[in-house]
Symmetry: C2
């Protein structure tokens, strides 16, 4: 058994990517760059207008999906369960790329697993894939080893993370990415309303992010909420016309003052 293993791993890992949206495209780009990965095929339900990368073995016909060591389902969360049922394979390793979907939602006719790149992907924006944490999970040790090998071929930051841990990680990611981005949006709206340019705030925006790379966010908090400076807080609330933004302002301010023990 052990010797078979060695033979098996001396060859490239054969991968099929199912889904060619933002995540699928970035995975394909990363896989094509690796000597250790043989990207056998890409499936998408429709033909993309253009391929950014070298010609691919591509299909829109689910019945044509080829065999491989790993099938990676990179489609919207809500479609993962039903799509995994339609895959015309059995006892293959089929993994999804979602932060919030439990591994068990994949259909049981195949071996389940997760290959979750903890990053936000934007169309036409490349990212340093080597630095992206890849969180993998599998049902058995052999599959885990294959996933670890695949992940290591594209990233220097590979983690074994179970579904429960991944759930927390995804929630934290929603705060750090989705919610932070909405605060950026609110900021932009505020300055635009005063006919100022959002660019003015960008050095502050970047420094706020850079600062917590070497400091715990808790230790570098500043501002009126931390000081419980009610006068400034009142002035700010009076300036905010949007009710939803006022609610956000109040909720975060309350949480900050509570964190630093200055709640009234």
């Amino acid at each position: 058994m052990k010797s078979l293993w060695v033979v098996y791993f001396s060859s490239m890992i054969k991968v099929v990517v199912l889904g060619f949206g933002n995540v699928g495209k970035h995975l394909v780009d990363a896989f094509l760059e690796s000597d250790e990965i043989d990207l056998v095929q890409v499936y998408n339900r429709s033909r993309p207008k253009q391929f950014s990368t070298t010609p691919l073995e591509f299909t829109t016909d689910i019945s044509e999906i080829k065999k491989a060591d790993i099938h990676i389902v990179a489609i919207p969360d809500d479609d993962i369960a039903s799509f995994s049922e339609e895959i015309p394979l059995e006892n293959s390793l089929v993994v999804h790329t979602s932060g919030s979907v439990p591994m068990q939602e994949l259909n049981t006719k195949n071996r389940q697993g997760v290959f979750y790149p903890l990053q936000t992907f934007t169309a036409n924006r490349s990212v340093e894939f080597k630095e992206i944490p890849i969180c993998v999970e599998a049902q058995n040790k052999e599959d885990l080893i294959v996933l670890l090998k695949l992940a290591s071929a594209v990233s220097n930051n590979v983690q074994e993370i179970n579904s429960e841990e991944r759930r927390s990680l995804h929630l934290a990611a929603v705060f750090i990415n989705n919610f932070v981005n909405h605060l950026y949006h609110i900021s932009e709206e505020i300055v635009n309303q005063t006919n100022l340019n959002f660019n003015l705030l960008k050095p502050l925006l970047l420094e706020t992010a850079s600062k917590v790379i070497n400091n715990s966010p808790k230790d570098v908090q500043t501002g009126p909420a931390k000081r419980n400076d009610q006068e400034t807080i009142k002035k700010h609330l009076a300036l905010l016309e949007n009710k939803k933004y006022r609610k956000i302002y109040k909720a975060i301010t309350k949480s900050i003052t509570a964190t630093y023990g200055k709640e009234l």
Copy 2:
């Protein structure tokens, strides 16, 4: 008059910094590096344990404050009004560095102005001062010119911003810095509770910030709130034990779904 002006400006700008906290220290460092600025004196109510920079003309005695072209008050917002009253000068240009305090709160015995560096300063953390937007405001044109010249000596990004605009800018800065930092803190707490390392989230954190340098935040929003994915939202709320964090989650989620027209 005009020729006097020229003579006046051919010499260095004499500056006194009043206050040696985070802002004061960073200003002093920047001023000392400029050939166009003569840092005449630094005042602080107490003697700092150490000076990070070259020996300074320093005093803790308010009665010893020297004359200069500009006196910069870099002290906590709440103390600006009363401190400016105590300054033993008359008809000098006295400016503060605050984002939220109106210029008019400075005592009227001196000429009022503002020199607001739009950045967050941390002890023992240097910043690229040349890129910091400096927002200046003055009562008259002559003082404005002096402030513009001082600002231009330390930064490539100088803006004339009135008190009303500065109020909006400061509110936007609170969202982009104080509030974003608190979301970082919540994220860190969530992953720590699952015994995961906050470092896992740092590539995502940095990419979230970098992404909006060339894109409007509104155009790059993603996540369950934007999709109005109620199932994931419910799961997240169930995971969040801290009531204050749940309130923040709900308020931001509601605002995001409203922004993208998917409110129920």
